[in-house]
Every structure is written in structure tokens, then in C-alpha cells.
Amino acid sequence: MSEGLLQVQDIEVRYGAIRALKGVSFEVYEGEVVALLGANGAGKTTTQKTVSGMLQPAIGQILFDGERIDGIPAHKLISMGICHVPEGRRVFPRMTVHENLEMGAFRFKRPDAQLLEHVLELFPRLRERIKQHAGTLSGGEQQMLAIGRALMGKPRLLLLDEPSMGLAPLIVKQIFDIVREINSSGVTVLIVEQNAAQALALANRGYVLETGEIVLTGTGRELLADDRVRAAYLGEEIAAVS
């Protein structure tokens, strides 16, 4: 097997005395969609923040494209092509949609007009609202804007943190369709989700986190079929398993 685009090796992250991640290892290969699943507090977001450089691992290392990236601050990782869509969307509410998208291309001297056009084709909604302030958008539109903003940074690896949070099922489906489209254009995606069914349907592979450790791994299909996953995240009866 070739080397993964992203290799996370035995990282341990601490908030003070609390060990949020207790030696997590996983790999993401070029062109894949990988899902990190887990309940609240399992360490999904912590993992992703560590990958994006907002947190530093106490132990372990992270390799991106064969280079060590742990310890490099977030704003530098972006110029290596790791773009992060943080949890809870976090658009700039008092900037227009257009300005938000331009901020996404902050690492370039000037935003790429073609790319902007591409993003607006991906999200026709955003084109309609291009002059509107981001704070006046609906939740789904804000999520689209957050993803579009990350795309403006020309990512090789896109980190999505709970894109389905607080959205209606229909919009969740739209968002996942778009993520699939982004992925098919060659962007590797690492997605953190609680919505296991949707995420696994999309993902090539998945990892299940529980209290800071990876407890389960497999292809999307395998995990969807796994009884423990079904029981824990899809709310089905556990009786059949034991």
C-alpha cells in the first residue's frame, strides 16, 4: 500500500490534565473521503483541530504528503493545502457572501476568479445571495458558504467538521451531494460527523472514535453494516448482537 496523503500516528492531545486523545492513528489516502465518527466527547473535533494545526499533539506525529506538520500553526498549513471548515459554520456575519469567499482566498495575493466562478456554480444559492451579508443567510446557506470559503483556498485536503449540524435532512442531503462532487474533482476529504448514516454512505472508509481512542475501522459499507455502529449511531436495537 502506498503512503497516505495524511498520516496521523499515535497522537495524544491534552487539555490541561485531561487526555482528549489517547494515541489516535489513522491514514487518509489521496482522493478518498474518510469519515471520523463518534459520540459527543469522543474526540472527533479535537482530532480534526489537531490536524488543521489549531491544537498541538503532546505525543505522536502527523505527516502530510510525507512531511511532518504537527507543530505548524494553522495559518501556515493552509498554504500547504489543508483547509478547515470549522464546527458551527463560522462565516463572517457582517461581511457579504462575496467578501466571505474572498477571505477564503486570503493566502493568495488576489482571489482566483475562475475558482470563484466554479464555487458559485457548485452553490447556485450563494450566487443569488452574493451581495447579502452572511449573517442573514439561513443555516444551510451558511454551511454552503463555509465550504465554499474553504474551497477558495484551493485545498488538497478539506477538513469538514459536522457539516450536517442543525440542518434539515433535505439540506443535509444536498450538502453531502456537494461534498461528493468536490471529492470527485480531486479534493481529499476528512469529515467528522455524528450523522453516521449519511457520512458512511459518502465515505470510502471510516474510523469510529470512543473516548479518545479508535475502536473500529473499515470501509463505509462495512461500518454501515456493523452491528455496533448501527446500535450506537443509527439508533437500532442492540438486542440482536450480544
Partner: protein
């Protein structure tokens, strides 16, 4: 008793209680040992309390019948009517009308005028009650016009406003001529401005096409009708008055007008250009530039606009030159013991400068106004719907903002020379310096969103750096380093920058409240060090020897600053101008955008690749160095200072100025600082000293309640405060049902 009537009763009681509080505020605040109840008795048991109770009842009636009043409030002309009437009332109650008479206030002048025989009859009538009668009639006409919708009332009110303004001006001149002497009072000018606003109201009432529209739109339409024309008109009035009747040269109460001055200096060896100016050139330039700019703005001919602007500029230069010549030759010839260059000049010359400047500016605005505004005055649809412009700005008409800017520049350039010594020193040591500080703090608080409560510390560091470099501290610099104060600017900037970095580097990882506390501590540390480090700073006495006044010595050009405040004012203007121009560029740069992003959402900013820490540090350092420049200026202007000039109170005041003006808005920071530093000085004459802070507090409170975005809100903040309330209302409309998003 049912619920609604008990509510009404409560409201009435509240209004009456509020009226009593107001009565207490108005009355004397001091008791004395013999009679503790003095203040309360004076305030509450005199006949005056009835006025306040009547006000309370009026407020009650207004609140109770508000729904019936509201439809009238949205009619065109209401707000200018209220603003104009209040301005006139303020000018005729609070302001000075003739500095030579008693305490110079309107009441004093009026009673003196009424008891004087031989005053022009019109003036006697004006001060004897005509002033109030005219105001009441104008307001009644306007109100009748607004309520009935009859345009003729509007026309009548407009005409009467002009007549009233002229009568006020003539009466004031008559009184000043009668008593003689130098007059710096502003009352009559404020009164005229008030009548001009009432004139606007009249025109709006007479000319607005809709029964219900808002004033803002009407005003914008009027301003956008012919960009630049308003400036030209103001210039025309000002120029005509100043060239014809105002005092140009006034040694020992001589009060010579332009024509008198010409006669005075006929055949005295006055420079030919000044002789020609006084004889015909002044009037000619005024007339030609007026025609050029007027036609340019009316017919929208750009080259003519530029010609008008150029001629206006030349006219200003010639006027200034002439003023210099007549004042210096007046001193040489000992005309009535004239003092020297730039002394003894009346307001006339400076008013002419302002007039020519405004006429030129009108030409400039006409020349640069967008072309396609002839038929469509730009008012975007949102603004019409919600009654406010999308950007939160009041002036949306083409060229209107620029016109406002030009008026502000004209005032900044040509008002100070006509002010009296007191106001000149207020302009320099209060208004000017705090404007500079507020502009600096605006970077930190307004743009980067960091609350800095120790800002004055950098000001102190700038001042002490200057004192060190000029050798006024116990610790002397090496002799090769000792320098004149202006050269200390780069050093002070660098040192403040370093101090900003030193404070910022460890603390900027903190957020919000924590940062505020740490900076507050820093401010106090600097002050306490200055008090206690006797060997270095000379402790609480401040620098031992005077910090010298600035000098610019470039061989042929030598400018020495002394005790004349005006010189400092123009130096400050240069500083402010440089800083503002630099910051304007900064605001729209990459750094400016990253500040905006950090203020909006720090995590998201980080996620888009902004080095948040470095950018925040930069804001801190830039703010600090601006403050350092202000410190250099302060030290060398005042000469002696002590650590008590750098109290926590000052830091908080600067924050208040920025918030009051509108966080994150450069014009706002300037306007906020200027207004809030001007107000206490203005109130000095108007209210008992003990009450001053209370009135200022009331102004700030009202401002924050009714205009929370500040005086001139920043574009983004305005959206935050207005657009977001509409979101709930907009969303269901914007998203069709069943479409899913």
C-alpha cells in the same frame, strides 16, 4: 381599576417623576451648611418647577397618543423642522451673542439691547421679542404645512426663514457695531444655521412629491440634484457677507471692513498685490469663481468645475497673502498699536478664505461627481423600503459625503483663526490631541476589536521619550543625541511600537475582558513608574526643565512654534491628516481585511489562513505608535507635564470617544472625539460646573440609546445593529415555503 387605566396612571406618574428629576438637574446642586435643603427647595418649590411638570405632562400626552402622532412624524420636513427649531432655541438661550456685553449670553445681550436708546430699531425689535416671535411663526407655518399638506405654507415658511436669518444677522451686527470691540461670539451664526435648516424644512414641505416620505430621502434628492451646488451657495452667502460687511482688520477695536482697510492703507507702501486685492481683485476672484463653479455644478460641465476649483484655490492663497501683508504693515506703521503679522485680523478675511474654499470645493465636487446621476438619484431599494440606506449612512446622494468633508475641512482650516484665545487652546490641547488619540485607538478597539483600557500609557511613553530626547529629564541622553522635539517623533513612534509589542506579545493571547484588565494594569504601571522613578522621570513633578517648542529649520524655511495656539493647531492638522490618510489605506488593505475577519470570528479567521496573533499585535503596535506621536506633540506644546496628565480616566475617555463616534469608523472616531471634547468646554459657560459631567453623561446615554452604532457608524457595525433585527422578518419572505433552504 382595569389594567389599561392603571398603566396610564403609572405612565403619568413616571413622566411627572422624570420631570422632577429634570428640574433637580436644572437647578443648583450645592447645598450649604446652614441649609442642607437649599438645592432641593430651589429646584422643587419655585415657580420654575411648573415648567418641568408641564413638560412631563406633554411627554405623557405624546406617549399616550403616540400611534396617532406617528403618521405625521414620517411626513417630509418634520425632522429638519425639529432640528432647526432646536438649533435656533439653543442659540438664543445658551450661546454667546456679543462678547463685549456682560457674560455675552443672549439673554444679557437682549436685555442690554432693549434698555439702550439709539440702537437700530430693527435690532431693538429683534432682541425685544421679535426673535422668538419669528421662530414661533416659522414653526407654526411648517407644522400647518405638514399637517394640512398645503405647499404654500412650506413656501411661506421658507421665505420667512430667510428673512429671519437676515434680521438676526443684521441685528447682531448692529449691536456689535454699537458697542465696538472684538467679537468672537458664535450665537448668531448658529441661529442662522438653524434658520437655514428650517428653510430646508420649508422647501421639503413645499416640494416633496409624496404625502408621506422620509426626510432623509428628500434631503438626499435635494443634495444630489446638482452635486456641488450646496457648497457653492454656502460659499456665495459667506463670501458676500464677509467681503461686504465683516471686519478685516481690528487693532484697538477699529473694526475695519474690506473697504475701510483699503482706505486705511492707501499709499502706505502696502504690497501691490494686496492693494489690488483690497481694491478689486478680491471681489473679482470671488465673482468669477462663483460663476465658474455655479455654472459647472448646475450644467454639470467638468472642465469648468476644475477651473472653479483652481480659481478658488488661488483666491484662498491670495486672501491669506493679503491678510499677512495688511497685518504686518499695520504693525510696522503702528496703526492703533497693531501687534504684528497675523495679529489683529478680524473674521472677515478668514470667512472670505472659507467662502472661496467652499466655492472651489463646489467646483471640485461638480467635476468629480459620477456622470450618470442625472436622472437617477441613487437610492437603493432596500433603503426606500426600510427608510434607511443599506450602508447605514445618512448621505447617499452623489457627492454629498464629499461635500460634507469639504465643509469640515473649511471649518478646520478657517474657523480657528477667528476664535478667541480660550477656544484656540481648547482646539489644540483638547480637541486636536484627543482626535489623534481616538484615531489611534480606533485601530485597536474599532478595527481589531481589542479592548484596550491602558491606551494613555503609550501617550505617556511618547511624552517622556520626547522629554528624554530633548534633555529635560534627570537622565540625559548622550549629547550627540539631544534633539529638537519634532525629530523625536520617529524615536517616539519606534519606542511606543516596541512598548506595544512588549505589552501585546504576552497578553494578546487573552481575549475580551481579560485583555481589558491587563491593559488597564499596564496603564497604571506606566503612570506609577513615572511617579516613583524619581531618578529617571523626576517623579510626580514631571520633567525638570521645559520641553522646548517645536522648530523646523531647513535653512531657507524656518518655522518656530511659540505660545500661539494657532500654529499648533495647524501642526496638529498635518499630523491628523497624515495619520488619517495612512489609516484609510490600511483599512482597505489585506491587514485591514484580516482585522475585520478577526473581529467577526477569530476561529474562522484562523481557518482562512490569517496569522491572528501577528495581526492583532500589529493593530496594537500601530495604535500605540499613533499615541506616541500625540505624546510628542503634547510634550512640546505644553512644555511642562506631570504623571497626572496620564490618568486611567483619560484612557477611558478615549475609549468613550471611539465608541461614541462609532467603533471602527475613522470619521466617527474623529467626530466623536471632537464633539465630546468640545462639549465640556462649551458647557462650562452654560451650566454650573458641578453639573457638567451629568449633562455629558446624559448626552452619551441618549446617544447610545437612540444611535447605538455611534455618531457615524462604520459600515459593518451599522449592519450589525440595523440589518440583523430585520433578519427574522426577512427570512420567511426570502425563502419560499417548501423549497427547503
Amino acid at each position: 381599576m382595569n389594567r389599561s387605566s392603571s398603566e396610564t396612571l403609572n405612565r403619568l406618574l413616571l413622566c411627572l417623576a422624570g420631570a422632577l428629576v429634570l428640574a433637580l438637574m436644572w437647578g443648583p446642586q450645592e447645598g450649604n451648611f446652614g441649609n442642607y435643603w437649599f438645592a432641593i427647595k430651589e429646584s422643587l418649590f419655585g415657580p420654575r418647577v411648573l415648567v418641568f411638570l408641564a413638560l412631563g405632562v406633554l411627554a405623557f400626552l405624546a406617549m399616550t397618543f403616540w400611534p396617532r402622532v406617528v403618521p405625521f412624524l414620517t411626513r417630509p420636513g418634520v425632522w429638519p423642522m425639529v432640528a432647526g427649531a432646536l438649533t435656533v432655541v439653543a442659540s438664543q438661550t445658551l450661546m454667546h451673542w456679543a462678547d463685549q456685553v456682560g457674560d455675552a449670553k443672549f439673554g444679557t445681550v437682549a436685555s442690554a439691547a432693549a434698555n439702550t436708546n439709539g440702537l437700530a430699531p430693527l435690532a431693538s425689535a429683534f432682541f425685544g421679542g421679535l426673535c422668538w416671535a419669528m421662530l414661533v411663526i416659522v414653526v407654526l407655518l411648517l407644522a400647518a404645512g405638514i399637517v394640512s399638506g398645503l405647499r404654500n405654507f412650506g413656501w411661506a415658511a421658507a421665505v420667512l426663514s430667510v428673512v429671519s436669518a437676515v434680521i438676526a444677522y443684521v441685528s447682531h451686527s448692529a449691536v456689535v457695531d454699537f458697542v465696538g470691540g472684538v467679537d468672537h461670539s458664535l450665537g448668531v451664526y448658529v441661529c442662522i444655521v438653524g434658520y437655514l435648516v428650517l428653510l430646508t424644512a420649508g422647501l421639503v414641505v413645499a416640494m416633496s412629491h409624496a404625502q408621506v416620505a422620509n426626510t432623509r430621502r428628500a434631503v438626499n434628492q435635494a443634495l444630489g440634484w446638482r452635486p456641488g451646488l450646496p457648497l457653492v451657495l454656502i460659499g456665495a452667502v459667506l463670501g458676500a457677507i464677509s467681503l461686504a460687511t465683516s471686519t478685516w482688520f481690528s487693532p484697538a477695536n477699529r473694526n475695519a471692513t474690506l473697504a475701510d482697510t483699503r482706505n486705511l492703507f492707501r499709499g502706505t507702501g502696502l504690497a501691490p498685490i494686496a492693494v489690488q486685492y483690497l481694491a478689486w481683485l478680491g471681489w473679482t476672484i470671488f465673482a468669477i469663481s462663483l460663476v465658474l463653479s455655479g455654472v459647472a455644478s448646475y450644467r454639470r460641465i467638468r472642465p469648468l468645475g476644475w477651473a472653479g476649483a483652481a480659481l478658488g484655490a488661488i483666491g484662498v492663497l491670495l486672501t491669506v497673502l493679503t491678510l499677512y501683508r495688511i497685518s504686518s504693515i499695520g504693525a510696522d506703521l503702528h496703526v492703533d498699536s497693531a501687534d504684528g503679522p497675523w495679529q489683529n485680523l478680524g473674521a472677515g478675511g478668514w470667512m472670505t478664505c472659507a467662502a472661496l474654499f467652499l466655492i472651489g470645493a463646489g467646483g471640485y465636487v461638480a467635476a468629480t461627481a459620477p456622470r450618470h446621476s442625472e436622472r437617477t438619484v441613487e437610492v437603493d431599494s432596500d433603503a426606500v423600503a426600510s427608510g434607511r440606506s443599506a450602508s447605514g449612512a445618512f448621505l447617499t446622494a452623489p457627492g454629498a459625503v464629499r461635500s460634507g468633508l469639504m465643509v469640515a475641512i473649511a471649518v478646520a482650516l478657517f474657523y480657528p483663526p477667528t476664535a478667541n484665545g480660550f477656544w484656540q487652546s481648547v482646539l489644540v490641547s483638547e480637541i486636536g490631541i484627543y482626535v489623534l488619540l481616538a484615531v489611534g485607538l480606533n485601530v485597536v478597539v474599532g478595527w481589531a476589536g481589542l479592548l484596550d483600557l491602558g491606551f494613555i500609557a503609550f501617550y505617556a511613553i511618547g511624552s517622556y521619550t520626547t522629554a528624554y530626547l530633548v534633555g529635560s529629564l534627570p537622565v540625559k541622553p548622550p549629547s550627540w543625541l539631544e534633539m529638537s522635539p519634532l525629530l523625536a517623533i520617529p524615536f517616539a513612534v519606534v519606542i511606543c511600537l516596541l512598548a506595544g509589542l512588549a505589552l501585546g506579545a504576552p497578553t494578546l493571547r487573552l481575549r475580551g475582558d481579560y485583555l481589558a484588565i491587563v491593559t488597564l494594569g499596564f496603564g497604571e504601571i506606566i503612570r506609577i513608574v513615572a511617579v516613583n522613578a524619581d531618578g529617571v522621570t523626576n517623579g510626580s513633578q514631571g520633567p525638570q526643565s521645559q520641553v522646548p517648542h517645536p522648530v523646523i529649520n531647513l535653512g531657507p524655511v524656518k518655522i518656530t512654534w511659540g505660545l500661539n495656539q494657532l500654529q499648533y493647531w495647524y501642526l496638529l492638522l498635518v499630523f491628523v491628516l497624515v495619520v488619517v490618510l495612512a489609516f484609510r489605506r490600511l483599512e482597505n488593505s489585506r491587514i485591514g481585511r484580516s482585522w475585520a475577519a478577526i473581529r467577526e470570528d477569530e476561529v474562522a479567521a484562523q481557518a482562512t489562513g490569517i496569522n491572528t496573533f501577528r495581526v492583532k499585535l500589529l493593530a496594537f503596535a500601530i495604535g500605540a505608535s499613533t499615541s506616541g506621536v500625540a505624546g510628542v506633540f503634547f510634550a512640546s506644546q505644553i512644555g511642562f507635564f506631570t504623571p497626572d496628565n496620564f490618568l486611567l480616566n483619560n484612557s477611558i475617555l478615549v475609549v468613550a470617544y471611539v465608541v461614541f463616534g462609532g467603533m471602527g469608523s475613522l470619521p466617527g472616531a474623529i467626530a466623536g472625539a471632537a464633539l465630546l471634547t468640545w462639549l465640556p468646554e462649551f458647557l462650562k459657560d452654560q451650566v454650573p460646573a458641578a453639573d457638567r459631567q451629568m449633562w455629558i453623561g446624559a448626552v452619551v446615554l441618549l446617544m447610545m440609546i437612540f444611535r447605538p452604532g455611534g455618531l457615524i457608524p462604520a459600515r459593518r457595525r451599522a449592519v450589525e445593529l440595523s440589518g440583523f433585527d430585520q433578519r427574522q422578518r426577512l427570512e420567511p419572505v426570502a425563502v419560499p415555503a417548501g423549497e427547503g433552504l
